[in-house]
Symmetry: C2
Subunit: 355 residues, 2 copies
């Protein structure tokens, strides 16, 4: 019996459509007969907002919820457009979906491929995963301001952290660490300053660690982590961290590896109550949109995360191996977005046929 997966596809803005096209090309190249993907296109993002005034209606959310998973390219328009000021698309769409679909695990793997130039002189072997909390922390929108625009303005931002929210993501991170060869977990926080949230995270990690004697655990402050990430990134295996710290360190992680053009992410609802969402970490890059110069690799690797999430680790690894082969064979001649997608899809097809 074939497994049928309903996939919502949000191509989005800027380079989003281009990179999603290639990601889907690779997805189709890897699909075996026993896995059927039914795609539904959703037109969401800055373009649609500027046309209709709608960012994400309740009907959109309900329709998306009918799907097993979401593949998203990138959303966000020209940052200088005053109609899009203040990140309304990012918050109204990306963050809204993460919260609505309880994406409490934001999974962001980092690999340094030997064939890809790193800005680091000597990165060494790097292969870690950041498990970023996705539904709490300073991202909850729980702040405000009074006397706005006056010399007496006060603006607050509140970070909310719950035992429920911290424990479930910490459990996920330990489970992941115990399935990886090095079985190491690093908690990243700023517990010497953010003492209340920090204590909750540290206590939770200590408690769950008891159930995982096979996993070694350490703790690092978020400031110190940035140092280790450029000086000795190979030391990390699984990192578990808060929503904001995860945002910051995964961009850094993307930068020290092949760059943000290779960084994939999964916004995961491990309970399966809601569709998980897979997206490149990069943004919509409107300045280079439509020129076929964007690297679709991060979107393709997001498809690998999707396949893994669907329980098809075999297909996921076929995709990542095809990407690695493509990266290794890259010359100095620039290729178009579609040429990169074609090459990876061909490599996947070749592997699948010979396997």
């Amino acid at each position: 019996m074939a497994q049928t997966v309903k996939l919502a596809v949000v191509r989005g803005d800027g380079i989003g459509p281009e990179v999603v096209d290639e990601a889907l090309k690779v997805l189709h190249a890897v699909l075996p007969d026993d896995l059927v993907v039914q795609e539904t296109a959703f037109s969401l993002g800055a373009t649609r907002y500027l046309e209709t005034g709608d960012i994400l209606s309740d009907a959109d959310t309900a329709a998306l919820a009918e799907h097993d998973a979401i593949l998203l390219g990138a959303v966000g328009g020209d940052p200088r457009d005053p109609r899009l000021a203040g990140g309304i698309i990012e918050r109204g769409l990306l963050l809204k979906l993460r919260f609505a679909f309880d994406h409490y695990v934001n999974l962001r793997p980092t690999t340094v491929y030997s064939s890809v130039a790193s800005p680091l002189a000597d990165p060494g072997a790097v292969d870690f995963v950041v498990v970023r909390e996705g539904t709490e922390g300073p991202y909850v929108g729980n702040g405000g301001a009074i006397r706005v625009g006056t010399p007496h303005e006060i603006a607050t931002e509140v970070s909310l952290n719950t035992a429920h929210g911290v424990e479930r993501v910490v459990r996920y991170a330990f489970d992941l660490a115990s399935r990886r060869p090095r079985k190491h977990l690093t908690l990243v926080h700023k517990s010497n300053v953010l003492v209340h949230a920090g204590a909750l995270w540290q206590r939770t990690v200590a408690a769950v660690a008891e159930e995982h004697p096979d996993v070694t655990v350490d703790y690092q402050h978020v400031d110190a982590v940035t140092i280790h990430m450029v000086r000795e990134p190979g030391r990390f295996d699984v990192i578990v961290t808060d929503n904001l710290f995860g945002d910051i360190i995964t961009d850094l992680a993307g930068a020290i590896s092949g760059g943000i053009g290779l960084a994939a992410s999964g916004n995961i609802n491990p309970d399966g109550t809601f569709p998980s969402m897979f997206e490149p970490v990069h943004g919509s890059a409107p300045d280079i949109a439509g020129q076929q110069v964007a690297d679709p690799t991060a979107a393709v690797l997001s498809v690998a995360l999707l396949l893994d999430h669907l329980g098809r680790a075999d297909l996921a690894s076929a995709v990542t191996q095809a990407v690695e082969a493509d990266l290794a064979s890259r010359g100095t001649t620039p290729r178009s977005t579609a040429e990169v997608g074609d090459a990876i899809a061909a490599a996947v097809a070749a592997r699948t046929t010979t396997a």
Copy 2:
């Protein structure tokens, strides 16, 4: 008439005493006849706390306030010592002084010296200053927790941002930028998520920018800044940012330059109401304390910031030039902490005599 400066010296814990000794050695080597420094030693830090139970008494604070400036080595004991858990020394001493003495500018310059190996393959010419806000943001200790230790625990951290607090540090940053050759200022925040605080910072920067038509201004999200800092750090000139973002990106800045062993900082009260405090960015490193292996350069460069603050830019640049000369002449033979201090002091003295 000689200028007399009352300097409070907090040698502190771990490697603190060793690096402060060298910093003072260099200070004395550079002092001309018309500048007299009167030192008062303050025994503060983890060692004193474990002996007496006192971290920083009101009497300590009052005595420190009688001084013109403070030179601090590093504070903090063995991180595994349960009596020091949760950063009580860091908060009770370092942060308490920053708040008590209204150190609203935390100044952290970054230079990549061509003679010092950077972890970056090709850092290029790098010379920027981070102006980190020092008295607000998530550092205010304004959070709490309920139902601690139960499955219903909720922990909050509140970031407080005021027009007063943001405007004064932004003004300082603009003044600094307009005195530098490139006259460029980058605001770093996360305004697409932390909308209330972000809007206050962005509005303030826009308003003060009107008074500084000579300074070019841009904005970057804190996550994106980490990417630029490893890929193209030379693009930055003056960065102004929030307390927490400043903490994170200045450790990264330290790492991409010669390492945290070279990073100096000034906790400045520009109004002169309270003594400003100068300290290396690095911590007390108890694991290598007393071995004469710590690099005192960051402490020495903190003396340069102190001299600059005292209005003696000439002496400050004598110190930084001596440091640069020392860095350029470093061989592969490791030198002791005192040997590095001796070498820099000798270079300073040679310059001062020939000048």
